[in-house]
Symmetry: C2
């Protein structure tokens, strides 16, 4: 739960950071900020937490160059803005921050593009150990939905709302808010969580009543999942002790969607413990399914092949399971979408495919 | 409201179409299907309805060639599938239809790609005068949301749900279902509808309580709006007699978003009376706003300039207002996003910009 205390802590951590620059100055040192190097070669598996985290290599932003000094100036202005925002209990988007910098009195502090302001917020997350959500920075879109036997309470700016994610929502489901830590789980009959990549498949499962028949929480991923979506999946797993399964298209881009749910991403490796669910299991579409169920396919493109080969060297996919599946896929040269299961009829996915896979995975 | 009667009518219209092919055969004629030509030059303004519709030019799909015969064969298989789907009270996605064709016994009837099946569904909409929604064909994604003082009743497969779009939803709002004709408006305090292009701006308006302060229904367009979103905007206008305003970025692509809300699109000109709200007014960002409010801008790219020039020849934008604004934009060579208003502070949009524009437009 996001509380007043979280906001105070976030504010304090930010002020501490600014105070550190001040002390460096006062002590005759050139101010600097040290960060882990954020590249694929500096991400490593942490056995204890089961997720991928940054390694030991660091890079620093130092005021010993005009470029570095300007970066620290921008950081200080941003810290002041965030501290004030938290003080007022308000929030803003990453894009608004970029534009807002135009109103700052020192034009050297204006961001030159949104990549720069986005990256600064990520830097501040890493050095302050506070998530963007606790800074009250919203993404542009969240947009994914839940449908399943869960009663929750959401703390909104307009008061508390108690919502049952089957009985109190329309067919569109419950819209996950930007910061899902405003949600408290009150009661549930969920047996497992099923994360679904595409809207078409999500709608198929709801129409066929899969969530009701299997006491399943259907989480729509909407392609590469937003942080809010990954966070709520993790909370469903950790707090309600639920198995989490991921159902995507059978192509390298979809394996990355699974990867970001399970292991986190390179961009957000500092947040793996907050966002990643390493126990999440991949249901399919697996390359093996393409063979077993004789699904309609498309040939792998050159960029598909490159992506599969790059996954073979990605530490997140160096397991027997993924090596076997990816090598099989390169061998057959084919990919299939989840909706390709419709070639066996509209009920095949809910009556045959998912029950067989969930049984094989010991989920049901 | 979508009712059993709508489904029966849709089914009858489809069967009639198949019967027509049969009669053509029986009468010794070569079966054919005639459709309006769907190009920009065959779209014209209909004074009575105030929207753009197809002109008089037609093209026909005739069985006098193998290619044409195959198209009609696919149409007949699709009609059979749709009639059965309606009979069983089920639905499916456009993508599922494409894959499902793989299960049809005659391999000549299999679709070769999804463009082909999508286009056939549009053809069937035109010749049968039944909307895709009444065929129970769902899009892949709908996903837009409502937030505002409206109590509605949604007819779901799981029974009726009464939902107030401020009091019974989280901060994410009410998720518009794929077929919004399953919704009935029960009660409201709405003074006007504000359609918003980006998620960041939608969240800003909700955080600032704009919907509460102005009794405004905030509809998130999510970029180019889905049919479901356009349909609910039209119903809010027609049934509740509400002014509709559209708030987008200030660039040619966003003017097209406004255009599709107000006048319909070339692709769906046959549905203009069902989807378009010709009374919808454009709030901004206008090129004039870039000048008046001194907004942060980006230079127009070559493709922006081409798009603006193409809009000047598009019948939908041949009004004094649009010609003036587009010519001004070409002159200043700049574009601005709606979130650029944040350069004047986070409350500028709700305390100054929107009230001024709504007042100038006589909406408030």
């Amino acid at each position: 739960m996001s509380t007043r205390t979280d906001e105070e802590r976030a504010r304090e951590q930010l002020i501490d950071l600014a105070a550190e620059f001040y002390d460096q100055f006062a002590g005759g040192q050139i101010p600097e900020m040290t960060l882990p190097t954020r590249t694929k070669s500096n991400i490593e598996y942490d056995k204890e937490s089961g997720v991928w985290v940054y390694g030991d290599r660091t890079s620093s932003r130092s005021a010993n160059s005009v470029r570095g000094a300007r970066k620290l100036l921008k950081a200080v202005y941003t810290i002041e803005f965030l501290a004030q925002q938290l003080d007022e209990g308000r929030s803003s988007t990453l894009r608004e921050l970029y534009y807002l910098s135009e109103s700052w009195d020192n034009s050297e502090a204006h961001f030159s593009d949104q990549d720069e302001s986005n990256q600064l917020i990520e830097d501040l997350e890493i050095v302050s150990d506070v998530t963007r959500e606790d800074f009250h920075m919203r993404p542009e879109e969240s947009g994914a939905t839940l449908m399943g036997p869960l009663l929750l309470r959401e703390q909104t700016r307009r008061g508390e709302r108690e919502i049952h994610c089957q009985e109190d929502v329309g067919e569109g489901g419950y819209q996950i808010p930007n910061n899902p830590d405003t949600i408290e789980f009150l009661d549930n009959d969920i047996d497992f969580v099923l994360c679904v990549e595409t809207g078409g498949m999500r709608d198929r499962l709801i129409e066929n009543g899969f969530d009701e028949q299997y006491n399943c929480m259907v989480v729509h991923l909407k392609g590469q999942p937003a942080r809010a979506t990954r966070r709520i999946i993790k909370r469903l797993h950790d707090e309600l002790d639920l198995p989490v399964t991921v159902f995507c298209d059978g192509d390298p881009w979809s394996y990355r969607i699974y990867g970001s749910v399970a292991y986190g991403s390179i961009k957000s490796a500092h947040l793996s413990e907050y966002l990643a669910t390493p126990e999440a299991e991949y249901i399919g579409i697996q390359p093996q399914d393409i063979v077993d169920y004789d699904l309609p396919t498309d040939p792998l493109s050159d960029s598909d092949i490159n992506a599969l080969e790059s996954e073979l060297t990605d530490p997140r996919y160096q397991t027997d399971y993924w090596e076997e599946q990816i090598e099989l896929q390169l061998e057959i040269g084919k990919k299939a979408e989840q909706q390709a299961l419709a070639s066996r009829g509209l009920d095949f996915v809910t009556e045959t495919y998912l029950p067989e896979r969930l049984d094989a995975m010991d989920v049901i």
